[in-house]
């Protein structure tokens, strides 16, 4: 039971010193004089100086009157904006953040600290940035975001360490880091950081810092059970406080040393220290700590079996607690008294105090519970907000991913369209080129096939012509030769037989004649008018040179188209008709004048062959082979042949051939 009471006391004693650091810098008296002087300065200033004073006023009023602190901070922000002074605006945002922090509106504090940090970052104010990091670390610590808090603190520490302009900021951050680790019960780390802070204070011989840090180390050592260390550091801190004139804080050290001695069973020393501390708290009218010290002392005396003194101290502590409504201490005193009365066999009183303790504990528990619920609610809300932020961030990330995907789709589609378009265009152009080439090749192939066929045809014609000439022509010549041999060989043949042989010979000759014409026509595709004219002219010249006493004339009307072209068969037939007519005139008509004329009218080309020979009576003389052949040729020409003759009036042959 005594051990239980001891542990309770130890716990209380430990927390006594936690608030010491803050109390040291917030002396009401000192603050009041500062506030007065600042208010005085405010009424006399304007511009940048006024903004700075407003910030300082906000800082001072933060622990006195929150509304005023907020008004001053707001005024500082407005004035800084009016002055367009970023340095002041950063400081003013810092003031706003401090007000919100003190009001428990930690999210708002975080926002304003971040605004301040943004401005300081823009201004490249490294110390200012480190200050903001430190402040953000404090707020994050209060929000329970220890990891984030440590990150901010370490950022601040890094900057402070690189900028040696104000060494005191380094141990400050080290102490803050120690506080965060303490909440995580990482006492070894806490001790490490406190020791580093103390070392810096000692290097710079900063006695206030040394006193505070040593006090902190002493309090931490109670937590780790290093009671000798508690005694050593607390004693050193006590001496420094006394030296510096901070007598108010000496009793705190005495309480810590008393707890350590009590735990080490040095009850005499513990009693001395408790008595010293109680006297100090009475002197300073520090009722809260006085109450706590009396109850702890009572517990210590009870362990030493000094029941009377123990009752006295506990009842005194209970009275102070009742008077000042320190319910926690009231419950603790009642609980200890119940234990003591039970030990003294006074069960009524033991029951009474036990009931009282139980009731108070329930009240406290409810309060704690409410507080815990509130804290839980706050944590829940914070967590909820964090979750919301996370959800929003996730949504934002998702949207960004969607936008990226969409962009990829758009750009990808565009790229694909460009590639497909290009491929289409190139394929089209290639196909067009192939088509053009194929057309050209087809035209060439067609021309080649045509010329090849033409060549083949011509070759075939030549082959047939050669066969006709070499075989049939030779055979016909042989027949004529044989017939002539017969005629000369058999001279006593009857006249009829001789005539018949002559006719067969003539007919065969005619056949050779026509065969040659056919061969010629077969190999000649066409004959021009000029060519025909020159051939007729040649023939007339030859006829003229072969005969005597006959005058030939060959005239072509100027209206005749000299560009006219006849087929080879037409040309041959025209030529043969003219040739036959001239031959007949020379052979039978005994003419002295033979005229050949070619003329043309709208529908026909007309060939006239006239002679002034004997003429003949068309009714009496039957048409021979020659005339019949001419008629036949005229029909082949799709033309008309007229023979006009009468005895002694010559003969006129008129061939009319239609113009195509």
């Amino acid at each position: 039971m005594k051990n239980h009471l001891t542990s309770l006391f130890k716990s209380t004693g430990f927390y006594v010193f936690v608030g010491l650091f803050f109390l040291l810098n917030s002396s009401q008296l000192k603050a009041q004089s500062v506030v007065d002087s600042l208010l005085q300065a405010k009424s006399e200033q304007d511009g940048v100086a006024l903004a700075a004073t407003l910030n300082e006023l906000s800082w001072e009023f933060k622990s006195i009157q929150m509304d005023s602190a907020k008004i001053f901070a707001n005024q500082a922000v407005s004035l800084s904006k009016e002055l367009d002074n970023d340095t002041l605006l950063g400081a003013s945002y810092n003031s706003m953040a401090n007000v919100f922090e003190a009001s428990g509106m930690l999210d708002s504090a975080l926002v304003y600290h971040q605004k301040s940090l943004a401005i300081k970052t823009r201004l490249q104010d490294s110390i200012g940035i480190a200050d903001s990091y430190n402040n953000l670390g404090i707020v994050s610590d209060e929000l329970g975001n220890y990891e984030e808090s440590l990150r901010y603190y370490f950022d601040a520490l890094g900057i402070y360490e690189r900028n040696a302009s104000d060494w005191s900021k380094v141990p400050m951050v080290l102490s803050n880091i120690g506080i965060v680790y303490k909440k995580q019960e990482a006492y070894d780390k806490v001790m490490d950081f406190y020791t580093r802070a103390l070392s810096i204070y000692q290097e710079n011989y900063h006695e206030v810092g040394m006193a505070i840090t040593k006090g902190n180390i002493g309090a931490l050592a109670i937590k780790t059970g290093a009671f000798n260390k508690t005694i050593q550091f607390s004693e050193e801190a006590s001496e420094l406080y006394a030296k510096l004139g901070y007598d108010r804080y000496v009793p705190y050290m005495s309480v810590n040393m008393a707890i350590a001695n009590d735990s080490l069973n040095n009850y005499r020393e513990a009693s001395r220290l408790y008595t010293e501390a109680i006297a100090g708290f009475v002197r300073d009218d520090n009722r809260y700590e006085l109450c706590n010290a009396r109850i702890s002392f009572g517990n210590s005396l009870f362990v030493q079996y000094k029941d009377e003194q123990a009752f006295k101290e506990l009842l005194a502590g209970l009275q102070i607690a009742e008077q000042n409504n320190f319910k926690e201490f009231e419950q603790k005193a009642a609980e200890n008294l119940a234990v003591m009365y039970r030990q003294g066999k006074d069960f009524d009183k033991a029951y009474e105090y036990s009931q009282r303790s139980h009731t108070l504990y329930k009240e406290l528990f409810e309060e704690e519970k409410t507080k815990s619920i509130f804290e839980l609610e706050t944590k829940y809300q914070t967590q909820k907000k964090e979750n919301q932020i996370l959800v929003q961030q996730a949504q934002l990330t998702q949207k960004e991913a969607q936008v990226v995907r969409k962009n990829i789709m758009i750009y990808g589609s565009l790229g694909l369209a460009v590639i497909l378009g290009l491929l289409g265009f190139l394929f089209f152009r290639q196909q067009k080129l192939k088509n053009e080439q194929l057309q050209k090749e087809a035209a060439l192939s067609s021309a080649l096939a045509k010329i090849e066929t033409q060549n083949k045809l011509q070759e075939q014609r030549l082959r047939i012509s050669r066969d006709l000439h070499d075989n049939i022509g030779a055979q016909l010549t042989f027949i004529i030769s044989s017939l002539d041999n017969l005629k000369f060989g058999y001279k006593n043949l009857e006249k009829g037989v001789t005539d018949k042989l002559g006719q067969v010979s003539t007919f065969t000759g005619q056949t050779i004649y026509e065969l040659r014409d056919t061969i010629w026509a077969m190999n000649k595709s066409e004959i021009g008018f000029d060519d025909l004219k020159s051939r007729i002219s040649n023939f007339i010249e030859k006829a003229a040179s072969a005969t005597q006493g006959v005058r030939f004339s060959f005239d072509i009307d100027s209206q005749t188209d000299s560009q006219r072209v006849f087929t080879s068969v037409q040309g041959m037939n025209i030529y043969r008709i003219i040739q036959e007519c001239i031959n007949n005139s020379l052979k039978y008509a005994n003419a002295s004048k033979i005229a050949v004329t070619i003329s043309e009218n709208a529908t026909h080309i007309v060939f006239n062959i006239d002679d002034n020979g004997n003429g003949f009576d068309q009714d009496e003389i039957a048409m021979g082979n020659g005339l019949n052949n001419m008629k036949k040729r005229a029909i082949d020409l799709n033309g008309d042949l007229q023979v006009i003759s009468s005895p002694e009036n010559g003969t006129s042959v008129r061939l009319q051939m239609p113009i195509d």
Binding site: Q430, A447, L448, E459, H469, W520
Partner: protein, 83 residues
């Protein structure tokens, strides 16, 4: 940065496609040139043959009825020869 990579990649693809098609078109044109050259040569040979024969036929004297010259054997005519 990603945009630059995208544009560079696209340009690379486009350039590659253009080069491939340029190479293919060049090959097609070469093949076509060889083919048309062969056809032109065959045509030219046939034309020469026709002209040669026509010239011989035109020289034939109509009045002499002598086809010997025109019907001269022409061994250089090669029918059915692939080009």
């Amino acid at each position: 940065m990603a945009n630059y990579y995208f544009i560079a990649g696209l340009l690379l693809i486009v350039l590659s496609i253009l080069l491939v098609f340029r190479h293919k078109n060049k090959k097609i044109k070469q093949a076509h040139s060889i083919k048309t050259a062969g056809l032109d040569m065959a045509l030219s040979l046939h034309k020469t043959q026709l002209q040669f024969r026509q010239k011989s036929l035109n020289r034939y004297d109509f009045l002499r009825y002598n086809l010997e010259e025109a019907l001269v054997v022409q061994p250089e005519i090669k029918m059915h020869q692939p080009y």
